[in-house]
């Protein structure tokens, strides 16, 4: 775990993650059948993770939308069959919304409270392990002794705790995958296969 990794994560937390809900909404607005906003978001984050430096990014939100757009474009180009309404969709993508996001401020300032609420909502054992690790800074090994469970189980609890936070912060609590479920028609799988084939 290098210092640079850590800096990238902090940058990401502050400048990117707060825009995730807005990006997801934007991607979902005119979704293409074979494009799941959550796939696009992960892939866009990969691009951000691989950047040499983020210092030159002055407008992280705009940059994030632009990167997401490039991911969508790449998928559309690869797809053998481009649905007609994809054209409209791409038009939309030409104009990433640039309204200031009210979430930015809300998330920043509310972060600790949100975090406390998120931790409180975790399943009890997971919560116990997570609090020991994160609030009290106890190593996983000691948590295992304290809770009388195996180290592997502790690791599982920590993993679940993190997944919980992904849902909580990225997808707005229980609203997870509503977007993809409600907007992804049955043909999704067929198109998905098309995309996979075209990838090679």
């Amino acid at each position: 775990m290098t210092g640079a990794d850590r800096d990238r994560r902090r940058w990401f937390l502050r400048n990117i993650l707060p825009h995730e809900p807005a990006l997801r909404r934007w991607l979902s607005r005119n979704v293409l059948p074979d494009i799941d906003p959550d796939d696009v978001i992960q892939e866009a984050y990969t691009i951000l993770a691989e950047l040499e430096t983020v210092e030159t990014i002055h407008y992280p939100r705009a940059y994030l939308f632009q990167v997401a757009r490039s991911v969508v474009m790449r998928h559309v180009r690869r797809a053998r069959i481009v649905p007609i309404h994809a054209v409209d969709y791409l038009e939309q993508l030409e104009h990433p919304d640039d309204a200031a996001s009210p979430e930015q401020q809300a998330i920043d300032r509310d972060e600790l409270r949100q975090l406390a609420h998120a931790i409180a909502a975790m399943p009890l054992k997971t919560r116990e392990a997570f609090v020991l690790r994160r609030v009290k800074g106890m190593p996983q090994r000691e948590i295992a002794v304290r809770m009388r469970i195996s180290e592997n189980t502790v690791e599982t609890h920590i993993s679940r705790g993190i997944l919980f936070l992904i849902d909580w912060f990225g997808r707005g609590g229980n609203k997870r995958s509503q977007t993809s479920k409600s907007t992804e028609p049955e043909v999704g799988s067929i198109n998905g296969r098309t995309r996979n084939q075209s990838r090679h």
């Binding site: 993650l17 992960q42 984050y45 406390a116 409180a120 909502a121 609090v131 996983q140 993993s159 936070l165």
Partner: protein, 342 residues
């Protein structure tokens, strides 16, 4: 070929790897598996970045203090009934037991009245002989004088929360700045700080407020649950300021969070929050520029941990924190704000 992994599957695997890395260094085989996993799909590295970023962020939970009790933050539907009310009962018993051990210290009730005080940064729960309790906040003191007619407590300075055991024949009276707050049974907070008017907050039961004049005492208000009254100062003039106003139950909880050793903010300015911390320790939080001092703060913090608070603030507002002995100085980073997208 197996079905394409969903983004959810990837998030799960990313969380697993994050937890694995958090446990300790990877073995060479695990490292290899990890790298192979990262290469296997263009979404994975991004998912890992998000999972690790959130894991990093959760470290700021330390700012909640070691006394952080997640149960306090549970959604009401879980906390109203069932196991949690038992837990709350336990917490209370624990506090009462702690208080019982304190009881030996100085509540002998001599005729002149026993004075109970706290030092700066100290919070005490003291049981009184009738089963009522008084919770003293930092740097506070009260004098207790019970007789056959009434249970009289005088707030000399600071802040106290009274939980009054019912006794219809012997009212409980808190005297503060010439006002008498009288009840048969209630839970209420009274605050008397330098340079601020007396502030009364009732969270259960009813409290009658009277002003004592030379002739008699005159009732000014009856406060029910979840009401607040700021007493004009000096009393007896312009009772216009003395209208009680209702206050939301959540706001009451925040106002009383100090009883758990915490400070709760919801949109108070950073300047106000710094003042709130100043009551609890000699450490002072100084805010370098007025803009920053006006930023709203939200969150629950350990009252005795101004450093943890300042670090959290520095991170949230992208401010610079300098620690200089008992002085914590927060300043904006030199980067002009317009460089931000907003």
């Amino acid at each position: 070929m197996a079905a394409r992994e969903t983004s959810r599957d990837i998030d799960r695997a990313a969380s697993d790897w994050t937890a694995r890395l958090d446990r300790g260094p990877l073995t060479p085989e695990a490292e290899e598996a990890f790298q192979a996993w990262l290469r296997g799909d263009p979404r994975r590295k991004g998912a890992l970045l998000r999972a690790q970023a959130l894991a990093t962020m959760s470290e700021s939970a330390q700012a909640l203090g070691s006394g952080f009790d997640p149960a306090v933050f549970e959604e009401p539907k879980r906390s109203r009934l069932g196991p949690l009310s038992r837990r709350q009962a336990l917490t209370w018993t624990g506090a009462a037991a702690a208080a019982a051990s304190l009881a030996a210290v100085g509540v002998g009730m001599p005729a002149a009245g026993a004075v109970i005080s706290t030092e700066q940064g100290e919070i005490r729960l003291v049981p009184l002989e009738d089963g009522s309790t008084v919770h003293l906040n930092t740097a506070s003191s009260v004098r207790v004088r019970y007789d056959k007619g009434e249970r009289l407590v005088t707030l000399l300075k600071g802040e106290a929360y009274f939980s009054v055991a019912r006794d219809d024949r012997r009212p409980f009276v808190v005297e503060v700045n010439g006002c008498r707050l009288r009840t048969a049974q209630a839970g209420f907070r009274v605050r008397k700080l330098d340079r601020s008017p007396v502030d009364v907050l009732v969270n259960q039961g009813q409290v009658d407020v009277a002003e004592r004049t030379r002739q008699a005492s005159v009732n000014v208000a009856a406060l029910g649950a979840n009401t607040r009254l700021v007493l004009s100062h000096p009393p007896n003039q312009g009772s216009a300021a003395e209208h009680p106003h209702p206050i939301a139950p959540e706001a009451v909880d925040r106002e009383l969070a100090w009883r758990e050793g915490k400070l709760a903010f919801e949109g108070e300015t950073l300047g106000q929050a710094a003042d709130a911390f100043a009551r609890y320790s000699r450490t002072r939080i100084q805010i370098g520029d007025p803009d920053l001092a006006r930023e709203p703060v939200t969150g629950l913090f350990a009252a005795n941990d101004p450093i943890g608070f300042s670090r959290a603030v520095a991170r949230v507002f992208d401010a610079r924190l300098e620690e200089d002995g008992e002085k914590l100085v927060l300043t904006r980073r030199p980067t002009p704000r317009k460089m931000n997208f907003f």
